[in-house]
């Protein structure tokens, strides 16, 4: 909502510096997005008359315009717009003028032709938003006149305000003025429009009926005679232009003016074209059609409201757009003026469905003030006078109107919510200027909500109003002392530990977007029925990831395309999938994926074991396995206490090819939720033996198909309680070890808690271990 300071001052004697008023508006909850000083940049801009137009010899997008800027001499200007003709009056920024954007106009050559100034669009000199072409001035303009004088522009201040959905009243000049007046503690008054009424009473020539009371709460019509279509006076055009509307003709402009000023949209009908001079307000029937003012034929549904005529034919879409059959034209002399209160949700639905959102529908959607209608109608006629005459009386039909709420407000509650110490009298003084009638009873205050604040229905709504006018800045700041202990949960701590560990190992954390394009899961070798976005903006964001791998692979590919290779990355994030069993929400789990680019499968295993160490998972197993998207023969499942928590290994080379990653890539994928749900962490102190230990080195030749962890497990079982530690210290392939086999060398440290082991005991374990491994794995001890 834009407001002009001069316009606001018609309702309250607002004081103060421009910027201070801006601050006050912000403190009232009407955030100021911009402040424009109108007329400030018009010094040096004069009216010029177009004398001649001719093409620029060297440029297609520029033409040469000769103008008379008042001295009768042709002045050459180069201009990039083509919307003017000889005889038009246009604004000319003369040499030396400083434009709103800071540019100073100078005499200069454009492709070899002199330009002695600049012709301006409305937007360029901040008269409206129109930047389509040069602003064409009225034909009664006079060349040489300063533009401000010609347009009757007085210096003024324009505030562009952000109005929240709970402030329908602030969609009008009077609403903003009322708030400012309350802030400044100055009187606010809507002057009574001066109109004379004569002729027959309206009720004799016009009828209206609300057929659907749930659509329309109030429908008011009056008749104006003697209307002739013409241009509005310049001052009125200037004002509505400043507020962002385009002048059309006197009737349309006045309608817009009243809407901007009082928040009440109106519609005018050519009464002669309204069958039976009768209005019927009702829901449309399904498939009913109407040609609207813009000439488009529109099909309606039972959720759309219409104004129909005496023959029950729709002549307007309620609150959204009129029909073209009853449009005011040059021939119109008797106008039916209609103002109504429409059910906000009806207007919201229709305007959205038809894509017809306008200043009027925006106001109806928020809820207009049903009690401003009489004043607004008189104001409408006042602005059209003296050409017209208003017939006395009005047709005023009532539908379902939400009752004006009476709200009990407890003084104690006000202070308890706000942390203030206001008494009854102070609260009444705050509420009165913003139209909330308040009456004090014993402990409470009874508040009647003004008709222009339909958003207000609860005690808390009134408390907010009290806070707003009291001033948020005047509420004393206090800090409550927390009654809980500030801490992270065990899981949040573990997540940090995982990050720190991976960082320590040299991995960088990445954060790809969680959206995927169709086919990306498939390319990663994964199942394709991911959760789909129902209304994606682009196909690249239409699937939710069911694995972190695609995002990380894309990250590797992106970096590789910038010659950044050998990266070590990780991400911790959510993945989403369809659940096995019906449940309210999709499966959402936290995963960790780490990718190492390069030949680094050994390192990925070390990263896992470091993580297990950091999180104190002592018992886990790596079991050779396969997993979709992983390398068929270089993958292990990670099992912790018998539960699968993830996989590690290499990424399938064909997956890498489809992601255009040319390095080998090792991968660790962990279901963090699953992993951290398994008991872990540091346990009680376990005393260690004080007796000497003995070491045994055993190297076995085993088939490649047998994993070292199986051999280790066998050794652990055989050594039993005496085993203090076991280590795979060497792996050897090549002669003399035969093809398809390799040597695994383990060091076992034996130790008893209560004695020094005898040579016999050690020899026995030695023998048992060798026998067991040789037998179980067809292994051969190497000597």
């Amino acid at each position: 909502m834009k407001v002009l300071l001069s316009w606001l001052r018609e309702f309250a004697p607002i004081q103060g510096e421009t910027s201070l008023i801006g601050e006050q508006l912000s403190e009232l909850g009407l955030a100021v997005e911009s402040i424009t000083h109108i007329g400030e940049h018009l010094d040096g801009v004069v009216v010029a008359k177009v004398l001649d137009l001719r093409p620029h010899p060297d440029a297609d997008r520029i033409q040469i315009v000769e103008v008379d800027s008042g001295d009768g001499e042709p002045l050459q200007i180069c201009c990039g717009a083509f919307n003017m003709s000889p005889g038009d009056f246009v604004p000319l920024a003369t040499i030396g003028t400083v434009m709103p954007n800071g540019m100073e106009i100078s005499r200069r050559k454009l492709r070899g032709e002199w330009s002695n100034g600049m012709l301006c669009s409305g937007a360029e000199i901040e008269i409206g938003d129109d930047d389509d072409g040069i602003l064409i001035l009225g034909s009664d303009s006079k060349q040489g006149t300063p533009l401000a004088e010609s347009l009757g522009i007085e210096s003024d201040v324009l505030y562009d305000l952000e109005v929240n959905p709970n402030r329908p009243d602030a969609m009008s000049v009077i609403g903003v003025a009322r708030d400012l007046a309350a802030y400044q503690k100055i009187p606010f008054k809507i002057p009574e429009p001066k109109v004379s009424e004569k002729g027959k009473n309206v009720s004799e020539i016009l009828k209206a009926e609300i057929v659907s009371p749930d659509l329309c709460g109030r429908f008011v019509a009056r008749v104006i005679e003697g209307v002739s279509i013409a241009d509005s006076p310049q001052w009125l055009q200037n004002r509505i232009t400043s507020l962002g509307m385009r002048p059309v003709n006197n009737v349309v402009d006045v309608s817009n003016y009243v809407m901007l000023e009082m928040g009440q949209p109106s519609h005018t009908f050519d009464l002669a074209s309204v069958s039976n001079s009768e209005f019927k307000v009702r829901w449309a029937s399904d498939g009913e059609e109407i040609v609207t003012l813009d000439g488009v034929s529109r099909k309606l549904t039972t959720e759309d409201g219409v104004v129909a005529d005496g023959s029950n034919v729709p002549i307007g879409i309620a609150g959204v757009m009129g029909g073209n059959s009853t449009e005011i034209s040059e021939e119109t002399s008797t106008v039916a003026l209609e103002m109504a209160w429409w059910e906000p949700s009806a207007i919201a639905k229709t305007s959205r469905r038809l894509g017809l959102r306008s200043e009027a529908s925006a106001r109806f959607e928020r809820g207009t003030d049903p009690e401003i209608i009489e004043t607004a109608m008189r104001r409408f006629c006042e602005l059209l006078e003296p050409e017209v005459s208003l017939l006395p009386g009005l047709v005023d039909e009532q539908g379902d109107m939400p009752a004006r709420e009476k709200i009990k407000v407890r003084v104690s509650r006000v202070n308890s919510i706000l942390g203030t110490d206001l008494d009854k009298k102070e609260i009444l003084e705050i509420l009165d200027p913003i139209g909330f009638e308040a009456k004090a009873s014993k402990q409470d205050i009874e508040v009647t909500v003004p008709s222009f604040r339909p958003d207000t229905s609860l005690e808390i709504d009134v408390i907010e109003e009290i806070a707003r006018i009291f001033g948020y800045e005047n509420i004393v700041k206090t800090v409550p002392k927390s009654k809980t202990f500030g801490s992270l949960t065990a899981k949040q701590n573990d997540r940090r530990l995982i990050r720190s560990t991976l960082m320590g190992l040299g991995l960088d954390e990445v954060m790809p977007v969680p959206f995927l394009a169709p086919g990306e899961l498939e390319n990663a070798g994964l199942e394709t029925d991911g959760i789909k976005v129902a209304n994606p903006l682009v196909a690249e964001e239409s699937v939710m990831r069911s694995s972190l791998r695609p995002g990380l692979l894309k990250t590797l590919a992106y970096n590789e395309s910038h010659r950044l290779v050998g990266l070590k990355l990780f991400e911790i994030g959510h993945v989403y999938s369809h659940p096995q069993q019906p449940q309210p929400l999709p499966d959402e789990r936290e995963h960790l994926v780490s990718l190492l680019a390069g030949d680094r499968v050994k390192e990925i295993v070390e990263i896992w074991s470091a993580l297990a160490d950091a999180l104190a998972f002592r018992d886990y197993e790596l079991i050779a396995d396969s997993q979709a998207g992983f390398h068929a023969t270089r993958t292990s499942r990670i099992e912790v206490q018998g539960r699968t928590v993830g996989f590690l290994g290499e990424i399938d080379p064909s997956v890498l090819a489809s992601y255009e990653v040319s390095e080998r890539v090792s991968c660790l994928e962990i279901d963090v939720d699953e992993l951290l749900s398994i008991p872990h962490g540091h346990s009680h102190y376990k005393p260690f033996s004080r007796y000497p230990s003995s070491d045994i080195d055993l190297a076995f030749e085993v088939d490649e198909s047998i994993s070292s962890s199986e051999v280790r497990k066998c050794l652990e079982e055989k050594a039993g309680e005496l085993l203090a530690d076991i280590n795979l210290f060497d792996v050897f392939r090549g002669a003399p070890v035969s093809e398809g086999r390799r040597s695994l060398a383990f060091k076992l440290r034996l130790q008893a808690d209560d004695r020094t082991l005898t040579d016999t005991e050690v020899a026995e374990v030695h023998k048992d271990c060798i026998e067991a491994v040789e037998k179980k794995f067809s292994a051969k001890l190497r000597s």
Binding site: E27, A31, P165, N166, A348, S416, I417, L418, G419, T420, I460, D461, I463, E464, A467, R468, Y472, I475, T478, V479, P480, S482, K483, T484, F485, G486, S487, L488, T489, R496, R499, L502, M503, L505, G506, L507, D508, E509, V510, M511, P512, V513, P514, F515, I531, V533, A534, N535, P536, L537, E541, M544, Y558, N559, H562, L567, K568, L585, P586, E588
Partner: protein, 332 residues
């Protein structure tokens, strides 16, 4: 007699000085102090002398041996130190070869900001709560006092997912649904923050992303006031941005808080910068969370987390956070 040993010492001194290594010095030691040495031989003859002579010769012999030992020891020290020098010299190593061999990884800037904020609020006595990123319509809107068809829903460009009834399941548009989940799961008093990932149907540009991060704080306790909200925001502002920063609240509108406000911060003399939204938890929201608004009152405030990361590191494009270029990642 004395002269005899003086010349012995003189002779020994020359030999010791001429020793080139520890091995020859050891041989020399045996020769000078061992069984067949001049002094040992002489000692053996002491028994046959007069007491007077014996005492005199004994003294001279002891003195001579002490001198010999000192000379040998000094030479030994000298020789081993030379040896050590040689060894050290032969082990010379260029340590700069190993410089920058292993580097630490980097926490993503968003994570850094996230953890900084967590730590700050933990210090103020808050816990950290989390919730799902794919939410139901009730937690994201309904429970937060957005009735179906409410125009305020238009303020959020919501991305829905194909799950359950149409428009029933969505990518959460803010972290506020976690407020409801916390109220459902925990008994007040509640002092908690909710950092998380949120989604909007937005085209990526320098200031917008379809996915970004928010953090919000929720306090529910007896007698919590709007003054507490303003004071907590001020305390947070001072803790995060610096003691000299100030904050202000301006009236605004959110369906789930009332009174509602935007909060701004500024460096003294600087411009106000809009940071986030806040307000007193709306009575309907407390009810939706299963709490009696006559018994419990609370406030909530929230703001964008990514923007703080951008501000802190003077990054001018939000998209950079999600592009994951190594040259970006490795800077922080």
């Amino acid at each position: 007699m004395n002269q005899e040993y003086d010349s012995h010492l003189e002779e020994a001194k020359g030999k010791i000085e001429d020793s080139v290594d520890l091995e020859s010095l050891k041989k020399l030691e045996a020769e000078l102090l061992g069984k067949n040495s001049v002094t040992t031989q002489a000692k053996r003859s002491l028994g046959g002398l007069e007491p007077e002579e014996r005492r005199e010769l004994g003294f001279i012999l002891n003195e001579t041996r002490t001198k010999l030992e000192d000379m040998l020891s000094a030479k030994r020290k000298n020789l081993s130190s030379e040896l050590m020098q040689e060894q050290l010299e032969s082990e010379r190593l260029d340590l700069t070869e190993f410089d920058r061999g292993h580097r630490l990884g980097h926490r993503h800037v968003v994570t850094q900001t996230w953890e900084r904020l967590e730590d700050l609020f933990i210090g103020m006595g808050y816990t950290v709560s989390e919730g799902p990123e794919i939410e139901d319509e009730w937690h994201n809107f309904g429970a937060l006092n957005f009735p179906p068809g409410h125009p305020a829903r238009d303020m959020y460009d919501t991305l829905y997912v194909d799950y359950g009834e149409p428009m029933s399941t969505l990518l959460r548009t803010h972290t506020s649904p976690v407020q409801i989940r916390v109220m459902e799961e925990e008994e007040p008093p509640i002092y908690s923050i909710m950092p998380g990932r949120v989604f909007r149907s937005d085209t990526a540009d320098a200031t917008h992303m379809p996915v970004f991060h928010q953090i919000e704080a929720l306090v529910i306790d007896k007698g919590i006031t709007f003054g507490d909200l303003a004071g907590t925001i001020e305390a947070f502002t001072n803790a995060y941005f610096g003691k000299d920063f100030e904050s202000r609240l301006r009236p605004s509108y959110f369906p789930f808080t009332e009174p509602s406000a935007e909060f701004d911060i500024r460096h003294p003399g600087g411009k106000w910068l809009e940071l986030g939204g806040c307000g007193m938890v709306h009575p309907e929201v407390l009810r939706a969370g299963g709490l009696d608004p006559e018994e419990w009152q609370g406030f909530a405030f929230g703001f964008g987390l990514d923007r703080l990361a951008l501000m802190r590191h003077e990054i001018d494009d939000l998209r950079e956070l999600f592009r994951n270029d190594y040259r970006f990642l490795a800077q922080f």
